[in-house]
Symmetry: C2
Subunit: 509 residues, 2 copies
Amino acid sequence: MPSTTAASTVYDQLRTLKREAATIGSIEGLISWDQETYMPAGAAQARSEQMGLLARLGHERNTDPRLGELIGACESDSELMGDDRLAANIREMRRDYDLKTKLPSELVEELARVGSQAQEAWKGARKADDFKAFQPWLERMVTLTRRKAQCLSDGVELYDALLDEYEPGATAQQIEGVFTPLRERLSAFIQDIRQNGTPPDTAPLDTQIPATQQHAFGLRVLEALGFDLETGRLDVTTHPFCSGLAPGDTRLTTRYRDERFTDALYGTMHECGHGLYEQGLPKTPEFFGTPLSDSISLGIHESQSRMWENLVGRSRSFWVWALPIANACFDNALGAYTPDDMTRAVNTSTPSLIRVEADEGTYNLHVMLRFELERALISGDLGVEDVPGAWNERMKLMLGLDVPSNAKGCLQDVHWSFGLMGYFPTYTLGNLYASQFWEAIKRDIPDLEAGFEQGEFAPLLDWLRTNIHAHGRRYRAADLCEKVTGRPLSADPLMRHLESRIRPAYGLH
Amino acid sequence: MPSTTAASTVYDQLRTLKREAATIGSIEGLISWDQETYMPAGAAQARSEQMGLLARLGHERNTDPRLGELIGACESDSELMGDDRLAANIREMRRDYDLKTKLPSELVEELARVGSQAQEAWKGARKADDFKAFQPWLERMVTLTRRKAQCLSDGVELYDALLDEYEPGATAQQIEGVFTPLRERLSAFIQDIRQNGTPPDTAPLDTQIPATQQHAFGLRVLEALGFDLETGRLDVTTHPFCSGLAPGDTRLTTRYRDERFTDALYGTMHECGHGLYEQGLPKTPEFFGTPLSDSISLGIHESQSRMWENLVGRSRSFWVWALPIANACFDNALGAYTPDDMTRAVNTSTPSLIRVEADEGTYNLHVMLRFELERALISGDLGVEDVPGAWNERMKLMLGLDVPSNAKGCLQDVHWSFGLMGYFPTYTLGNLYASQFWEAIKRDIPDLEAGFEQGEFAPLLDWLRTNIHAHGRRYRAADLCEKVTGRPLSADPLMRHLESRIRPAYGLH
């Protein structure tokens, strides 16, 4: 870079490059959303060509050597780096650039190609309950993912390089330090509930509610929580998701079945939590395209979705407000129930085999099982052929269940088939962060839950906006946690939360 | 170009470049569709940034000097040019490249910038019925549009260069040769109807039909006409349109009001006609992105929409089939009417002031009025200040109406405000082509209308697929017309069609 260029100009050039890459990303986000919502089936081939072109245009910009030069010029500019926020922005741009340029493109392509085949093989193997058919594919994917980790690793544990992609700065050892006590306490807690508690009546959840009524209720809830429908939408897809695809454009999806209306409700509230985070990020012209307008990590993103879904949505105070609204939308179909009935019913906890169907109390054990196995796969301590045995052994130990088949065991998740390793722990990190933030929020806003009873969710959202959303990627997740809660991440708040919700539902004190 | 490169390789390189430009265009089409259908209002700013970026990326590719070189290399390859289809493909690529590179980019930008301001001025002027407020803007746009025509003109009439953008190869003089007799005969016909006919009973059209029922009926009609919903959709927008945005992705929109359900029906059938053309174009991997996969002209596109809307949709045989279906969808709301009642009601013709509300019988006079005025504006024979007078004089002459205000006169259309001159005649060309094709089709398929009564529209679609759609831009519109109808475009078929439909509705023979 010419040294005569003013710092602000170099930084502006950098922003312009990043902004263009982000705009391409926003178009990718939009056409992916369309693919899941309204695209005619016959357009699949053309869509993959569109996606391929945008991916190439985005990759060219994100790996442009000029981008590296501009970042370097900013890094050596002491005035710029003296501004904490801008320094964080440059630090994160360096991180992204290195991540995108460190992997050889043949490895990226091989991961994509083999991953796509392995995913197909996984589908067949799960259907046929045939682990042997999947085993060679999983072996190839573990090998390729290890190669990827080797390219990115800075020399400590290989798994950390994978984790870092989804949870920047986190390490397996730190996570283990929180997960191990959580695992022990959770297993004991679940056993206690099972042996000593009386399961609540879940009849309220069996009330049949037509999809149109559920949709009307869902929109009422979204609005009350503060999701801005002027800059967002709610649609229906097979697999619900949230896409904060562009400034002023955050789209949620959900799905409805006539039975178990709470599945759609909590699905919507979960995506709403992601959406509120996206709407709260500073995607202003000044920052859009730079890390300061981005979310911190998958764990923090998940903390937002889980907070609104579980901490808010399964509280008694939420149901005090929501039950009359639900009855207004549902022709009084829940007229026989009280907020206490609803709260107990939605805080049921029963060990089960399938992660995506697990309740709040048992969910994290499913995640920790996967974390332990994938970490051992990457380190080489576990061979792929030993996965089913290791899986089943841990299910017995952690959840007390016998696994009747690999289809309901180690073949149930798609993630590993396309190399998504280091991703699972972010689900539980999200739950941990949510509970720890929650305790800080309740200290700051003592009448928080009393407000919920009146439909007042704005104080919570304001707190999240100020303390979390507004920062973008300025802080790493662990640092943010210490900054806003005063202590490092711990298993205690999550255990306190689960006990406070599930024990009463089971008549325990 | 290196002369050692094999012709096929040069042609392949050309196809690859064109395909990438077309893929960018297909993404633009998709995000424009989203903007009209589902985009949250708050996303407007981000969307304009996305559109701007895609427009730039597309423009870069369409004006890439390498594209010009490759076209040149193909043109000088006698083997390639010996293949009629490929020669046509190269000829049209040359045309597109020249059109895109002949205009200085500052002129393109000035047209866009001033056009956008002039459009705002037009909105205000129409609302305030204040032509004087719009006059200076129209003067600027006429000046800029003349400059554009000068850049593109090959030296004959300046207006032809504008027309050529929308209707390649057409000239004002040729059009005048068809429009002049049409205008005289239409004016006389309308006067005859007015003086001697008895207006049909339009009560069937006043039946109130809920939008959901209209939508169900519209989908039944789309399917029967042959529109493939596996590679297409129907949505609702303020301004209905059809976007054949990518291979396998053709999207229609319509709008519903509870009264006048035929407005939505014919709107849907109109867009369906455009959509059937798009679905019939050979957008195969071999041709997608090249002119052989494109539509010929706006006039031919409009011939397809008007054929299904009017020639099919306002025929008695259509109503013989459609009325029971409509009654099944509408809870028998039209149970009191016969196919003859419906046919007469939808063939009413009454002079009116507003083009977009005009019926089939009077519509073309509105178009011809505009053609005459804009041609005179471009030649300089008409000054902008004289537009209102010239407009009102012609309305009296052609439609027998006094214009009460400029808002209902020369300020009614948006087109001129952003430089859309040379576009209006394509509406009437579409009607002319549709009627002339129709007579050829009825010669080829004598029992065409008997089939409609049974809901058999496939023979018509097959004919259009083979004779029109499959050719892409291989032929110019006038040549295609001679090829498939055996004679040059004439006013006779359209007059015969209108007389055969409207006279009986008015009790005349």
